[in-house]
């Protein structure tokens, strides 16, 4: 299978062509304001570099920050209606009660509370009231709103009410976009509702973006299908991506880590992506990033998306190096992208980490004579400080005392000069376009997050049920059944609930089935 992977980032749009597991070519293009031009440029450049004909490409996978940016910058967002089912419960907090005012205003802040919802064990809180919902539909129509997010209490346990309400709104308001919260998030009403509302407000934008990607690809002569990558490093097809744009939010760092794993041939590792100003650190388990367990904020709003557990430290290739009273301080301030004019090796007057690396003789870059004055003692002390910072963040990320390799990617990887904290360091080929590789190798997944009463069905049976559901979900998403693996199983007993209630989360992943 010949694949193209594209990663649209804040600064660069990277692309690779892969034949099976081999990287044929990789390029970096500048991300443009309209995004599409940058994508077309990257596609054309990588096709040329690979010497492949456009018609030979089977699939294109795209990771993008488009939708994250729209939320963070409060632009291209549609006026949205939030409908919550659960009265009389939840009346104390209307939808969007904890949203930043400007974001709420950008989408109109329209929320409705209605009857419905379920208890933790599936019992009904109150029945759905069709008349009530039709009244809400009237009001939504009068306000000219085109996109609705529906959230029902305990919908991750049973999604029936959301489905039924969705059907009622679809009949009353044909053509309106509908987002059901149980398709987006997990247990945690406000966070899941927030994620659903965010998804709903991106539905107009997603139609335009998917259409533009489709055009960009066709324009280059590529006939293959295209997919977008999700927060968890797996794929969604164009139709799915148009319905669930919110699932692309963290695909950048995820693709970067997955690409790093692939290029080094290891599935369990710490990944350090060293840029100009910061290093992003995460850890990989079975080739997928470890997920954050607490609420994740996007654009100032609490959500509970599946997002990689990545943290940043202020260490990069452009970080300032300052000596005060015998101690060396590296970062967090940095020259960033201005390194090419401000670092000493490029004729500037700011001492950066890259200058010290060049002075040590380990790497050739710029004009070495500009750093000849740095003493061996100073170089050694700075290097010690850098490695100590890296050791600290690698330690933070370790899952067990078991030794794991550390994969170092990114332009700032020249800072690393040996094992970190006793752990082997791997710097793979094509490290500069690891994110595009990550997009290209993305697989297909299915996930399940349910509460089971173990007193009724027993732990083994509950896990087996969850695994089966996750597998079926992966198949529905396009995975080849024979390739499916369960990559994550987690069960947490729930305090205070009877029947030995346990929350079970299972993820199944498989190879994309290209028929």
């Amino acid at each position: 299978m010949i694949r193209i992977g594209i990663d649209v980032g804040g600064t660069n749009t990277d692309a690779v062509v892969m034949d099976g597991a081999t990287v044929i070519a990789g390029v970096k293009a500048a991300t443009t304001g309209d995004v599409m031009t940058g994508v077309v440029n990257a596609l054309k450049a990588v096709l040329e570099a690979s010497k492949m004909d456009a018609s030979a490409i089977d699939v294109v996978m795209i990771g993008t920050t488009h939708f994250t940016n729209a939320v963070v910058q409060r632009r291209d967002l549609a006026k949205t209606a939030a409908v919550r089912l659960g009265l009389p419960a939840t009346a104390s907090l209307p939808p969007m009660v904890d949203w930043p005012e400007d974001l709420k205003a950008a989408i109109g802040g329209t929320g409705y509370l209605a009857h419905g919802g379920n208890e933790f064990d599936g019992r009904v809180i109150s029945p759905l009231d069709e008349k009530e919902l039709l009244g809400i539909a009237e009001d939504i129509k009068a306000k000219g709103i085109n996109t609705i997010a529906i959230t029902s209490v305990f919908s991750p346990v049973t999604g029936e009410f959301e489905k039924q309400a969705g059907e009622i709104f679809a009949r009353a308001l044909p053509g309106v976009h509908i987002t059901l919260s149980s398709d987006i998030g997990r247990i945690g009403l406000l966070e899941r509702e927030n994620a659903a509302i965010m998804n709903a407000c991106l539905r107009d934008l997603s139609r335009h973006v998917i259409e533009a990607f489709r055009k960009a690809i066709t324009e280059t002569g590529i006939k293959g299908r295209f997919y977008l990558t999700q927060n968890d490093g797996t794929l969604m097809d164009a139709a799915f991506a148009e319905k669930f744009p919110v699932l692309t939010f963290a695909s950048g760092p995820t693709n970067s880590m997955r690409g790093a794993a692939f290029l080094s041939g290891v599935a369990d590792a710490i990944v350090v992506d060293i840029g100009g100003t910061t290093s992003d650190v995460g850890s990989l388990h079975k080739g997928f990033p470890r997920q954050a367990t607490v609420a994740v904020e996007v654009g100032g709003v609490r959500t509970n998306f599946r997002m990689p557990d990545v943290f940043s430290i202020g260490l990069g290739g452009g970080s300032h190096v300052v000596e005060t009273g015998g101690a060396i301080k590296v970062g967090p301030t940095s020259v960033g992208y201005r390194i090419v004019t401000e670092a000493l090796i490029f004729g500037g007057s700011t001492l950066t980490t890259s200058d010290v690396v060049v002075a040590s003789g380990r790497y050739e870059l710029g004009d070495k004579s500009k750093v000849a004055h740095l003493t061996p003692a100073f170089i050694a002390s700075t290097q010690t400080r850098i490695m100590s910072m890296l050791e600290d963040c690698v330690e933070r990320s370790r899952l067990s005392p078991e030794p794991l390799p550390v994969i170092v990617v990114g332009g700032g990887s020249i800072l690393v000069d040996g094992p970190i904290g006793g752990l082997e360091v791997i710097k793979p080929n094509h490290f500069a376009v690891a994110n595009a590789v990550g997009a290209a190798i993305a697989q297909v997944s299915g996930e399940v997050d349910r509460v089971y009463a173990l007193a009724e069905i027993g732990r083994d049976q509950a896990l087996a049920d969850a695994k089966e559901r996750a597998t079926e979900a992966a198949v529905s998403a396009g995975a080849l059944r024979s390739s499916i693996e369960i990559v994550d199983v987690e069960d947490v007993p729930l305090a205070y609930l009877p029947g030995n209630a346990t929350r079970v989360r299972v993820k199944a992943v498989g190879e994309l089935h290209v028929g």
Binding site: G86, P88, A89, T90, A91, S92, L93, V97, D98, G117, E119, F120, R123, I125, S126, V153, F154, I187, G188, L189, L190, S283, R290, T293, V294, E395, R396, S397, R398, L399, S400, P401, V451, L454, V492, P493, L494, A495, Y496, L497, P498, N500, A501, T502, R503
Partner: protein, 367 residues
């Protein structure tokens, strides 16, 4: 109405919830939702005054309220709002008294906010104090019960309008059993009001000043974060607590025993504790900390897990492999250390009969 004490402002709610989460010692539920609910009420004009223990006369009546149920339901089936208030009104009617102020059963976790919310609905003040000075899993583990408060009449109310009144209950253990059972029928979330107590009794039996204490801890955390200082160090210094261990969680085992999440967490030392090992016994809340197999702090003293870098309190339910944690200890109030109290909340009561309670001495406070 007294003009003593102080009015709660909107800007107090976040620090109050942070302090309450910290005093939750790993349990107590997440106060975030309660904070939002209190905020909505204050924004709509509700005024809630926090009164010191000496503000009201002996014969004034105090209503003890709190949420009862599963923390996971608390973040999913959010309250209608008036649950604790309706339970409290039912108790007033059954006891034939008028309540003049509310008080928290436990300041640790989400129950710090429930009396504030009930007070807002009722137009009453809230007493600066509570029945534990921390959180504990069961309703009878309060100083109120330990020092002789009656259990009934009590009431439990759900979001649908159901109010169940317990007319005669021979003790708090029975109330815990009945109330827990009814709460599960109600969906594992409800508002509970226990028999009204006289101000004279509350003055003797309450842990004093704990609303202010939670507020103060929260302000310290937020201030330290804003100034990019070490939050853990500042919290320890300002509370007279002690830092017992810093380490990384290497194993967490939990199982459901009798409706509670019991288990152990294992940690490997970092920083000053590199080379040492620690173990924490858990039953929703943290029960005992061993460092290199020596029990160094145990219930009823407060054992608190904070994220090492941010000082964020970590509850038992989110404790996981790989987290870097500071384990700090605070001495529990003297009222919780008497022989009578230790029978209910000492190590033996939680299944550690081999341990003798060795109280943590208060450390010097650096403001």
């Amino acid at each position: 109405m007294s003009d003593k004490g102080y009015l709660l402002k909107e800007s107090d709610l976040l620090p109050l919830s942070i302090g309450a989460a910290l005093l939750g010692t790993g349990g107590g539920g997440n106060p975030y939702v309660g904070m939002l609910r209190a905020r909505e009420l204050i924004r709509k004009g509700a005024e809630v005054r926090v009164l010191p223990l000496d503000a009201l006369p002996d014969d004034a009546w105090v209503g003890e309220v709190g949420g009862i149920g599963a923390p996971v339901v608390g973040v999913e089936k959010i309250e209608e709002g008036g649950e604790c208030y309706r339970a409290m009104r039912a108790v007033e009617e059954a006891a034939g008294v008028r309540i003049s102020a509310t008080i928290s059963a436990e300041i640790g976790g989400s129950n710090a906010l429930e009396p504030v919310i009930a007070a807002a609905y009722a137009g009453l003040p809230v007493i600066d104090g509570d029945g534990m000075g921390r959180a504990f899993p069961e309703v009878q583990m309060t100083t109120f019960f330990i020092y002789g408060a009656k259990a009934a009449p009590a009431a439990i109310a759900d979001e649908k309008g159901n109010v169940v009144v317990f007319k005669e209950v021979i003790d708090m253990f029975w109330l815990e059993t009945f109330a827990r059972g009814v709460s599960v029928n109600m969906g594992a979330a409800a508002g509970l009001a226990i028999a009204p107590m006289s101000m004279e009794f509350v003055r003797r039996a309450a842990i004093p000043g704990t609303v202010t204490q939670a507020l103060s801890i929260g302000h310290t955390v937020l201030d330290a974060r804003q100034k990019r200082q070490n939050v853990v160090e500042r919290v320890v210094a300002s509370t007279g607590g002690k830092l017992f261990f810093t380490g990384k969680v290497t194993d967490v085992r939990r199982e459901l025993v009798g409706g509670f999440a019991r288990g152990h967490a294992h940690l490997t030392g970092v920083g000053d504790w590199a080379g040492s090992e620690a173990r924490i016994a858990i039953q929703n809340e943290n029960l005992v900390l061993w460092v290199d197999n020596v029990p160094v702090i145990m219930v009823p003293d407060l054992i608190i897990n904070l994220e090492l870098d941010t000082g964020e309190p970590i509850t038992t339910e989110v404790l996981r492999y790989g987290q870097r944690i500071a384990v700090i200890g605070l001495p529990v109030h003297d009222l919780m250390k008497t022989p009578k109290a230790l029978e209910i909340v000492g190590p033996k009561a939680f299944g550690y009969p081999e341990l003798t309670f060795n109280p943590l001495q208060p450390q010097p406070v650096v403001a």
